[in-house]
Amino acid sequence: GSGGFRKRKHDNFPHGQRREEKENVNPSSPLMTSFKSFQLELDTRHDKYERLVKLSRDITIESKRTIFLLHRFTSAPNGEEILNESEIKLDAVRRKIKQVAQELVGEDMYQFHRAISPGLQEYVEAVSFQYFIKTRSLISVEEINKQLIFTAEDREETTNMTSNSHDKQQHTWSLKVTPVDYLLGVADLTGELMRLCISSVGNGDIDTPFELSQFLRQIYDGFTFIGNTGPYEVSKKLYTLKQSLAKVENACYTLKVRGSEIPKHMLADVFSTKTELIDQEEGLS
């Protein structure tokens, strides 16, 4: 039958012939020459992408550490110190962003956007967090991008860049955080602000939660206004944002209702019980 025939066919398959055919391919034919150049082109592209991914990871890590540092800020004496240290950290992050800008000279930024977007979002989160602590307001994307204009620091730097002909003339580099990355970073910021609210109560600070509530409401209104007109990733954040706002509003409620009857140092305990209840409810829904 046909089954038996097929079995025989594969046993006798001319592997030798196939090998011979492959050896007959001329390695310097026009086709092979083109593919060698494709290899080079793709390798160069992939290498650059990888360098940018590494930079983005460094940016993410250092930005996250800055955020942790800023959570330790209180109006207590070491507050100024913490702000100064955060500025030093963010300067280091900006130096990495400068390297990103240098890698992207002469390139279409959007070709590599996925490589650097996570890092930039984290940076927006960190820098806007610091800005809020300092000014109680939201940093604009223009303000962020103003800080991402870089100049050559010394003659050494410009001569080191002679590997790329574009850079011989280059003395300034800049990177623009896109509106979408900015929005995503600000959406993540609200999560940190929610944490700030909870820890403020623990520190006996009963003013910050109300300030945060008002601030978060403004941001939430902004995202509501944008709604679905942005890309999907932005709309996705709206849900978490709403939850963060709810937690902050509930904290304010607790303070208002129970705050006057309980000594400050016990507020934290009452408050943490209440938030546990909130989390349980949310778990059930």
Binding site: R18, S34, K36, L42, M109, Q111, Q218, F223, I226, T229
Partner: protein
């Protein structure tokens, strides 16, 4: 600037972006229609009598590419020239399809692999990013891989139609193409996945060649100088 002012400005930017994408989508739809017409035309070569009409089909296809050129010219005007990759996802698929169609026509005409520069010329776009709306190398390679699958099918149908020499030539061509692709260091992306399909095309063609050789049909073809019904 108040928070609400900031968000109003941002919404303006997002809406403008969406408007551009809407226009691009319309242009791409027109391109997709032309691509479908081209594909329907060229698919005809798989039928027996189609072999005689190959030169005519190629000529007609070339005319269709005139429409493609016009449509791509129009697409180019819908977005800022230096933001190709911002919107690339919208036309990536249809461009790959057009590369395949151009490669198929060129193969039917000359049995060679169309170069990147030639495809760009056929489509009326640039080969280099720096010069404007261009053909990305990965889109070119994807289109070429689709050609391989089409030729595997053509090899099979050639035999059915009585042409025993064409599969041998296709086999040599695909083997060279396979060797070329082996030089590439691909990442685990859609191009890589498509490349993984190439070995099945190679195998299919090898089986056709084998079937011909054990029956001595390929010898018949070479001795007779490619004589077919």
């Amino acid at each position: 600037m108040s928070v609400s002012d900031m968000f109003i400005a941002l919404q303006g930017v997002l809406t403008a972006d969406q408007d551009i994408r809407e226009e691009i989508r319309r242009e791409v739809q027109a391109l997709e229609q032309t691509a479908r017409e081209l594909l329907t035309l060229l698919q005809g070569v798989h039928q027996g009598p189609g072999f005689q009409h190959i030169p005519k089909k190629c000529q007609k296809a070339r005319e269709h590419f005139g429409t493609v050129r016009t449509q791509l010219e129009s697409l180019k005007t819908k977005f800022p020239a230096d933001q190709y990759y911002r919107f690339h996802e919208h036309w990536r698929f249809v461009l790959q399809r057009l590369v395949f169609l151009a490669a198929f026509v060129v193969y039917l005409e000359s049995e060679t692999l169309v170069t990147r520069e030639s495809v760009a010329e056929i489509l009326g776009i640039e080969a280099d990013r720096e010069r404007g709306f261009h053909l990305d190398i990965e889109d070119y390679l994807s289109g070429v891989l689709t050609l391989a699958s089409e030729l595997a099918r053509l090899a099979v149908n050639s035999v059915t139609a009585g042409d025993y020499s064409r599969p041998l030539r296709i086999s040599a061509f695909i083997n060279e193409l396979d060797s070329g692709f082996r030089l590439l260091n691909l990442k685990n992306d859609s191009l890589r996945k498509r490349y993984d399909g190439l070995k099945y095309d190679v195998k299919k063609i090898e089986e056709v060649v084998y079937d011909l050789s054990i029956r001595g049909l390929n010898k018949e073809a070479t001795v007779g100088g490619g004589g077919e019904k």
